[in-house]
C-alpha cells in the first residue's frame, strides 16, 4: 500500500526513525544528545525499546520525528521485527574506535532490508569522532562504504555534540523531500483514491514501480563531516 499525504497534513505526521548498530556504539547517547542535549558517560544498556519524540523544523515546517532505540547485541536482532515496522528512516551507527562495529554494518543493512522496504532513508553514522587517538576506521572508509551502499554518511560525537543534530536532520529532511515529491504526484492523480486520508498516522514510504530504477540514486548522496 502506498500512502500519499498533502502538505497541510505533513505536520500531523510522525516520522519513525530507528537507531541500529552494535552494542555500545553510542546509540542511546546520540538520542539523548539530540532529544534532550544530554550525555551520560555511562547510561544503562538498552534492552527493550526506548524512544523519544522530537520536533524538527524543516523549511519552516514543524516535523515530528519519533526516534527508536534498542539493544545492539547480535542475539537481539531476531526480536526486533516490530521495532522496524513503519520506520521511514534509519541511523546505522558504528564506533570509529572499534573496527568490529564497522565490520558489522553489512549485517545490519541486511537486517534493515529484511524488515523494511529498500526506501528507508538511511545514514551511516561513525560515532565517537572525539576519540581521535583511538580511531580504527578512517573517514574515507566510512565514505566509501556509504557511497557503495547508497547511504548518507556523517561522523558524529554524542560527547561533544558535533554533527549529532545534522545527522538526524539529514534523514528527516530527505524523508520530507521524498514526501514533497509525492505531494506533487498526488496532485497529478487527484481524487483517484482518497481512502489513504483515513489511514493511520504513521507514514509509509514506498517507491513507485516507475521510480524504482532511480530510488538508489537519490539516496546515494554523501554529506561529508
Amino acid at each position: 500500500m502506498t500512502f500519499y499525504i498533502n502538505e497541510e497534513q505533513m505536520e500531523d505526521y510522525l516520522f519513525k526513525i530507528v537507531l541500529i548498530g552494535d552494542s555500545a556504539v553510542g546509540k542511546s547517547n546520540l538520542l539523548a544528545r539530540f532529544a534532550r542535549d544530554e550525555f551520560y558517560s555511562n547510561s544503562k544498556s538498552t534492552i527493550g525499546v526506548e524512544f523519544q519524540t522530537q520536533k524538527i523544523d524543516i523549511e519552516g515546517k514543524e516535523i515530528k520525528a519519533q526516534i527508536w532505540d534498542t539493544a545492539g547485541q547480535e542475539r537481539f536482532r531476531a526480536v526486533t521485527s516490530a521495532y522496524y515496522r513503519g520506520a521511514v528512516g534509519a541511523l546505522l551507527v558504528y564506533d570509529i574506535s572499534r573496527r568490529q562495529t564497522f565490520d558489522s554494518i553489512g549485517r545490519w543493512l541486511n537486517e534493515l532490508h529484511t524488515h523494511s522496504d529498500m526506501n528507508v532513508v538511511t545514514i551511516l553514522v561513525g560515532n565517537k569522532s572525539d576519540l581521535k587517538d583511538a580511531r580504527e576506521v578512517s573517514t574515507a572508509e566510512g565514505k566509501v562504504l556509504a557511497e557503495a551502499q547508497g547511504l548518507f554518511f556523517m561522523e558524529t560525537s554524542a560527547l561533544d555534540s558535533s554533527n549529532v543534530s545534522a545527522a538526524f536532520q539529514t534523514v528527516v529532511k530527505e524523508i520530507y523531500n521524498i514526501l514533497s515529491r509525492k505531494v506533487i504526484l498526488v496532485q497529478e492523480h487527484k481524487k483517484q483514491d482518497t481512502s489513504w486520508m483515513e489511514n493511520g498516522k504513521t507514514i509509509v514510504l514506498q517507491g513507485e514501480t516507475n521510480h524504482e530504477a532511480d530510488s538508489r540514486t537519490w539516496r546515494a548522496k554523501c554529506c561529508s563531516s
Partner: protein, 405 residues
C-alpha cells in the same frame, strides 16, 4: 588457592536501608521532584507522594518481618526451608503432612513478601539452588573463577562493555568492587554454560542478585538455578528462542485474560514484544522499582516462571482504560513504561497479578509453550534463510568496506 579462597569471602557491605526518608520543608510542596535512595540504594526521582508511598512500603516490610518472626517462634527457625532428603528422620508420613500444611502457609506468606534479611536463605532454598549446589564439590565456584581468569571471549568482551552500564550511579554496584563482583559472576556463568555465554539483560539480573544475596557465590547459584530450572529453556541462548516463545504465550494469555486490551492492540498492530522483551529478559529489574522487583522475584523463585505472566498481565490490566484510549503505538509504550517505573507499592501490582486475573496453572502454560514452539522455530529459521538469500543476491558483500560498483 589462597587467592581464590579470599575471593569467596568477598561480600559487600551494602545493607538495605530501613531508614525513613524525611522530606524537608522545601520538598513538602507538591510537584517538587526530589531525589532519594530506596531500600536497595537506587536513586529514585519522585514527588512527595512517591516518597510517602515508599515510606509506607518500608513500614509494610517491617510488619511483614514481624509476621515471619512470629511464625519462626511458633514453628521453629528454618521451618520454611525445603526438606532435604538427608533430614528425613523418624516418620515420613508426618513429615509429609506438616510439609503440605507448611507449603500452603508459605505460599501465602511469600506472596506477601519475604523480609529482605531472610531473602538470601529463603531464595536459595525454595528455588532449588541449595540442591543444585550440593551436587558439585564445595570449591566449584572458586575453581571456576580461577580457571577462567584472564580469558577473553565474545561474552567477556560484551560483559566488560556492560559493567559500567548496569545501574550506573548505584552506591555499591557502580564501584570498582561492584564491577569486579558482577564481572566474576557473569563471566563464571558464561563459561558454565558456553551456549548461553552472556546475554544482555543478565547483567541487571545478576546485579540485583548480588545486592540481595550478599555473596558472589550465592548470587552465582541463584543465576544458575534461574536459567537452568526456574525459567523456560533457551531464554538467553543466541537466538533467544525461549524468550520468543514466552512472548507468544503471553500474547495468547492477554487475549484470554484481557480481551478488550488485546483486541485494541491488535487493531493497532502493536506487538507485545516491544515492551515484554525487557520484562522477560531482565525479569522486571530494569522496569519496576527495586522492592517491587524483589517481591516479584520472591514469588518467581517459589512458584516458577508462570509468575512472569501474572505480573506482565497485571501491568496491562492496571492501565486498561488508559490503554484503550491510545491511538499510537508510541503512547502504549510510554504508558507502560511510566506505569512500571512508578509502581512503588508492590501490593498495588501483586494484588492484581494474583487475585484479579484468575488462576493460570503451570501445566496449561507448558502446554501453550509446546503449541507455540514450532511456529517460533519456523519463524527464526525463515529469518535466517531470508538473511542468507540477501547475502547471496548482494554481489558486493557489504561487510567489505571497499565495494565500488
Amino acid at each position: 588457592m589462597f587467592g581464590t579462597q579470599s575471593r569467596r569471602e568477598i561480600s559487600h557491605e551494602f545493607q538495605p536501608s530501613m531508614q525513613y526518608w524525611k522530606p524537608s520543608i522545601h520538598t513538602r510542596r507538591a510537584n517538587i521532584v526530589v531525589k532519594f535512595q530506596d531500600l536497595y540504594g537506587f536513586t529514585v526521582e519522585g514527588n512527595v507522594d512517591d516518597v510517602n508511598v515508599l515510606n509506607e512500603v518500608r513500614e509494610k516490610v517491617r510488619q511483614q518481618g514481624r509476621v515471619w518472626w512470629a511464625l519462626e517462634a511458633s514453628k521453629g527457625a528454618n521451618w520454611y526451608l525445603q526438606p532435604q532428603i538427608s533430614s528425613i528422620s523418624e516418620s515420613v508420613a508426618s513429615l509429609k503432612l506438616s510439609s503440605v500444611a507448611n507449603s500452603i502457609v508459605l505460599k501465602r506468606l511469600i506472596r506477601k513478601g519475604i523480609p529482605p534479611i531472610l531473602r538470601p536463605k529463603v531464595w536459595l532454598s525454595v528455588s532449588g539452588a541449595v540442591k543444585k549446589r550440593s551436587t558439585v564439590p564445595e570449591s566449584y565456584y572458586n575453581d571456576l573463577i580461577s580457571a577462567v581468569e584472564g580469558k577473553t571471549t565474545p561474552a567477556t568482551r560484551q560483559i566488560d562493555h556492560d559493567l559500567p552500564r548496569t545501574f550506573p550511579g548505584h552506591p555499591w554496584l557502580d564501584t570498582p568492587e561492584g564491577h569486579a563482583s558482577l564481572r566474576r559472576v557473569l563471566v563464571g556463568y558464561s563459561f558454565r554454560d558456553s551456549h548461553v555465554g552472556y546475554c544482555q539483560g543478565l547483567n541487571y539480573v545478576a546485579a540485583m542478585l548480588l545486592l540481595v544475596m550478599k555473596t558472589e557465590e550465592d548470587a552465582f547459584w541463584m543465576l544458575a538455578v534461574l536459567l537452568e530450572n526456574v525459567l523456560v529453556n533457551d531464554c538467553y541462548t543466541p537466538n533467544l528462542s525461549g524468550c520468543h516463545v514466552e512472548q507468544r504465550v503471553f500474547q495468547d494469555m492477554l487475549a484470554k485474560k484481557c480481551p478488550r486490551i488485546a483486541a485494541h492492540l491488535e487493531d493497532m498492530e502493536f506487538d507485545v514484544s516491544l515492551v515484554a522483551t525487557e520484562w522477560f529478559l531482565c525479569l522486571f529489574s530494569k522496569s519496576l522499582p527495586s522492592e517491587t522487583t524483589m517481591r516479584v522475584w520472591d514469588v518467581l523463585f517459589y512458584e516458577g516462571a508462570k509468575v512472569l505472566f501474572h505480573v506482565a498481565l497485571a501491568i496491562f490490566r492496571v492501565k486498561e482504560e488508559e490503554l484503550l484510549m491510545t491511538s499510537q503505538i508510541g503512547d502504549i509504550i510510554s504508558i507502560l513504561q511510566r506505569t512500571t517505573h512508578h509502581l512503588y507499592d508492590p501490593d498495588d501490582l501483586l494484588t492484581v497479578a494474583f487475585d484479579k486475573l484468575g488462576s493460570m496453572t503451570t501445566n496449561a502454560i507448558t502446554k501453550e509453550r509446546k503449541k507455540q514452539e514450532p511456529a517460533v522455530m519456523a519463524e527464526l529459521d525463515q529469518r535466517l534463510r531470508r538473511l542468507n538469500s540477501i547475502k547471496v543476491d548482494d554481489e558486493s558483500p557489504s561487510v567489505s568496506p571497499v565495494a565500488p560498483r
